[in-house]
């Protein structure tokens, strides 16, 4: 019986590449008086899907990340996985 899983996938620009959205936001926060050193912007996808077990769920998320959610040239990813009630 397959279970439902929720994966929260974080996709961020690899370090070393300039992140114009983060830099602009950091400047804006400094302008508001905060001592902000750096801002890096990430994207979060919440993916709900079915899998036979936790191992298969992990494999599926990895595959989704590699095939569509990231471009390995510039993106890093991390995810949290939990079985839903």
């Amino acid at each position: 019986m397959p279970s439902r899983y929720l994966a929260r996938v974080y996709v961020s620009l690899k370090s070393g590449y300039s992140d114009p959205e983060g830099e602009t936001t950091a400047r804006a926060l400094r302008g508001l008086g905060y001592g902000v050193e750096e801002v890096r912007v990430s994207k979060v996808y919440e993916v709900v899907f079915e899998a036979e077990d936790r191992r298969e769920a992990g494999e599926l998320v990895e595959e989704m990340c590699r095939r569509l959610l990231t471009n390995p040239t510039k993106d890093d990813y991390a995810y949290e996985l939990r079985e839903m009630e």
Partner: protein
């Protein structure tokens, strides 16, 4: 092959918006042009009927995830084999702006060892404050390896507009020098951004409008029959599309974009 026998397929998808200009430009060159919705081509699998395939500019699927990514994976899933076969036959594939992003995301460009499973380079968001829509200067740097631009003289300077938010050409940091060397060795560099005097932009805004590595604006595959470029040749095709044509004593009949599109047609005329 005679020019009037050449058939061009311009694919459109939800969010593409440059198909109209691209059709008009190719029709002016005297070739047959069809515009088909990508879903129809997925169903009919009829790429074989065509000699030139164009992925036009726009914002396919709202540029969600990354520009061109969703359309790329969809094409890969439905007609990936057909596309590879089309390319293997030496037929011409052109990706303009969003079309270039698609060819990168689908692994056709740079395609060092044929189609890659995952993208080998990236077109990341501009470092220059969001969306850029402006006329830029370009140098045709290819030495003849790009079959699609082989009618253009080496070092030809072109003036063509860009319009994109994600056009910063990037190589993976860990192999940056090696990939650049391979692009040179395989003669895959096609267009680089320059200043109006023809010297390279060296990353300087607005000449390099997006922060692209090495001022790269367009590349081809090692075989030279797949070309992707961020600038829009279809928006610089007719003389009346140029920003200063009303101030010219004699308005030019055509713009520089025509040189690129006509060169593609000439390649097909010669080859087939």
């Amino acid at each position: 092959m005679r020019r009037r026998e050449i058939r061009v397929l311009i694919l459109r998808a939800p969010g593409t918006n440059c198909d109209g200009e691209t059709v008009r430009a190719f029709r002016d060159l005297g070739v047959g042009v069809d515009v088909l919705h990508t879903q129809r081509v997925f169903k009919e699998r009829n790429l074989e009927e065509y000699d030139i395939l164009v992925f036009p500019g726009g914002f396919s699927y709202g540029d969600y995830v990354r520009s061109g990514a969703i359309w790329a994976k969809e094409c890969e899933y439905h007609i990936g084999r057909d596309l590879e076969h089309f390319i293997d036959q030496g037929k011409a594939v052109l990706g303009i702006c969003n079309g270039f992003q698609l060819l990168v995301e689908a692994g056709f460009l740079p395609g060092f060892e044929g189609k890659a499973r995952y993208p080998q380079v990236a077109l990341a968001n501009n470092t220059t404050g969001g969306y850029q829509c402006r006329w830029v200067h370009l140098r045709h740097v290819n030495r003849g390896g790009c079959l699609l631009t082989s009618s253009l003289p080496r070092d030809a300077l072109l003036r063509i507009p860009v319009a994109h938010g994600e056009g910063r050409f990037l190589l993976p940091r860990e192999v940056e020098r090696e990939y650049l060397r391979r692009l040179y060795e395989n003669d895959q560099l096609v267009l680089r951004y320059t200043k109006p005097d023809g010297s390279y932009a060296e990353g300087e805004y607005p000449h390099n409008p997006n922060g692209a590595y090495h001022d790269i604006a367009g590349i081809c595959n090692p075989e030279g029959n797949v070309l992707g470029l961020m600038p829009h040749p279809e928006r610089a095709y007719f003389g009346w599309q140029l920003p200063d044509w009303t101030r010219c004593e004699e308005p030019p009949r055509y713009g520089d974009g025509r040189l690129i599109l006509e060169s593609i047609v000439k390649y097909v005329e010669r080859r087939f």
